[in-house]
């Protein structure tokens, strides 16, 4: 989509250029207006995103200590060398990757499933849409606290139901083995509603006559899903995949509220560790170096992903 837009723009420019000064003047005037409108947004964006990002890249090579902001010195690659010897950082990296690997299929699968259900369901459609979407609009902290009650090892409703059916009570958040998976499930449950809406829009864009033709050709339901629905959903899926992936890498609130990174650092994520080293330990320089390294990793993953998708298209 964006490709076409850009090409169109270029034709407009080449079209305007030979016409001479008057058109140029109009163009200039239009540009001024456009930039004035862009201005506030650009200013805020650079103030709260671009400049801090550049500053944190610089801080990554300093020993910036939060309490002595004016006494930072350049330390070269020291932070990065320490980083690779820091067992908690390495653990947090593994945890984050583990979370991403589990949550992506679960969340996207759930979203697709819900979208398919809602696409067929006509009765009370709006009700279900709202119901599935409501966790997305709720605050993550609220969601985490609610789940904390549900998952409470003694009084929690989930364990009570489990014991009622003769299954032993589970240490959902208090066992180093289960905690990260519990957070995976909670996160997928919370986030799936958003992807569901996008999938739903994608599904409704698939023209009905394609299905009709396929039905005439004798395709069964499963075949129609595999050979028609899935391929035609591909652009939507790529968008969802990339955004969910980046979102999953940023996991912070759920472990912060539900487990504080424990037990035994099993739910310590990279972003949480950045927060902890930066604001609890006050090592802003070190935290910045983690942020820089992690940003680079996410960037690489995204670029690789786009490359793979493009190769697929060609």
């Amino acid at each position: 989509m964006s490709k076409i837009g850009w090409k169109e723009n270029r034709t407009v420019y080449t079209f305007l250029r030979p016409e001479g000064r008057i058109k140029n003047k109009i163009l200039w005037k239009e540009n001024v207006v456009a930039y004035t409108f862009l201005g506030p947004a650009l200013l805020l964006l650079s103030m709260f995103l671009v400049i801090p990002s550049i500053m944190s890249v610089y801080y990554a090579f300093t020993d910036y200590y939060l309490l002595t902001p004016n006494m930072r010195t350049f330390v070269g690659l020291d932070n990065f060398i320490n980083l690779f010897q820091d067992p908690i950082f390495l653990k947090s990296l593994v945890n984050t990757l583990e979370f991403v690997v589990w949550v992506i299929p679960l969340q996207i699968g759930a979203a697709l499933g819900l979208a398919l259900l809602l696409n067929k369901q006509r009765k009370a459609n709006t009700f279900f849409k709202v119901a599935y979407f409501s966790p997305v609009v709720m605050s993550l902290v609220v969601i985490s606290v609610l789940w904390l009650y549900l998952l409470n090892p003694n009084e929690g409703i989930i364990n009570n139901v489990l014991t009622y059916f003769g299954i032993s009570a589970q240490p959902f958040l208090t066992s180093p083995k289960q905690a990260i998976f519990t957070i995976v499930v909670v996160s997928a449950w919370q986030g799936a509603g958003f992807q569901m809406l996008i999938f739903l829009a994608g599904l409704q864009n698939i023209p009905g006559d394609v299905y009709e033709a396929a039905q005439l050709d004798g395709m069964n339901k499963w075949q129609r899903f595999i050979y028609i629905t899935l391929p035609l959903l591909k652009p939507t899926s790529i968008f969802i995949f990339i955004t969910t992936l980046i979102g999953a890498f940023k996991l912070l609130v759920q472990p912060m509220v539900m487990t504080q990174g424990g037990p035994v650092n099993s739910t310590m994520t990279v972003v949480y560790y950045i927060y902890q080293t930066g604001f609890t330990d006050r090592m802003v320089g070190y935290a910045s170096s983690i942020a820089l390294l992690f940003g680079t990793i996410i960037g690489l993953v995204t670029i690789t992903q786009r490359k793979l998708v493009k190769e697929d298209e060609d």
């Binding site: 506030p40 902001p69 912060m256 902890q276 609890t280």
Partner: protein
Amino acid sequence: MKKWLVVSISLLLMFAAVGCSKSESVNSDGKKTITMWVHISDDNEEGKVYKKRVEAFNKKYSSDNIKAKIEFIPRSGNGGGYEDKVNAALTTSTLPDVITLDGPNTAAYAKSGVIAPLDEYVKDQEDLLPSIKQQGTYKDKLYAIGVSESSVGIYYNKRMLQEAGVDLNTLPTVDNPWTWDQFLALCKTLKEKYDKPAIDMQLQSKDEMLTYALTPFVWSADGDIISKDGKKADGVFNKKTTVEAMTFIQTMLKEGYTTRTPVKQAFETEKYSMKFSGVWTVTDMKTNYPKVDYGVMPYPVSPKTKKLVSPSGSWQFAMTQTSENKEWAAKLVDWMTNKDSNVELSRTIGALPVRYSSEKVMVKEFSVQMNVFLKQLKETGHARPVTPAYPQVTRAFQQTIDDISFYDQNKDIQKVLDTHAKEMQSAIDKAN
């Protein structure tokens, strides 16, 4: 023309959102203002006391060219909020004249030159309890004064202990504490009688409470977290003595005498017979669970040393290095922690005194339980380690507890301690 309107409105809104006010240092009536930040909200009981005390300060010095102003910046559960604001003010040099800070932060703030020594201005330091002095001192200078003291003890349900056949007269006192083994025996009796954990040790809390409440076991065994000069953790924290203390805590868990997943309010609702908690629980019991008949006993001690050690510490007031009215700022710090402030705060939130003079008043008003805490604190109170690397040291300690509580996976306590002692050491090396 309309678009210019739109542009100017959006610009206006932007500046309104971005612009921030800087507090004036001169009042409308020509008086100089000293500003003070506190970490709690103004509708909180503690906040109300502070507000009252500031009003009293202004009344007393109404003829002087000075006016104190208090600003409430509540901190969040994890200690954020307030400290974030202090950190932000540091980078923009907009700190007020007086701030509050948690005890273990003294070293970091003093070393970084955030707060200034009080010795020059606060002469009467003899009145301060030793634990308060210890907490507010960095490199032999007093930087901060605590507003109240605290302690931890073992709350026990009298009825439940009696029904389990325990003679309450044999229970330990501060003068005659029990050893870990004696305490384990009591837990065994209670566990067998009620088939439930005997005590909620608050092991599920993953915050400062763990360090605050559990370090005394290490000290009781004659161990330490870091060396006295604050330079060594490796070779100190991972000594045999710490292993002994950790073994005791692990045994409590292994035998099921305590649990990492306690039922909420189990002691208050008479499900567990004991609770390991701070002095603040006295107020909670009085207001919310008046029917529970309970007593308080001191920490159990290491069988080898028989040395009773208990925790101490609180938030404190300090003046900032950047204050332009140091004399008055120090005066306000002194005022906020003087006998009257201390007594008033103790009466409101049930905290322990920080001065000998206020102690004399409080001891008569305290309940039996409060007096156990007071005696324990006065005779055995121990401040937490003083080091600029405290955030990392305390977290390494908390992780030690976390690790040893999974005793199946971490059978070798020494190995756990070695790992975390190294973490502490590298943080200390970086900070010094």
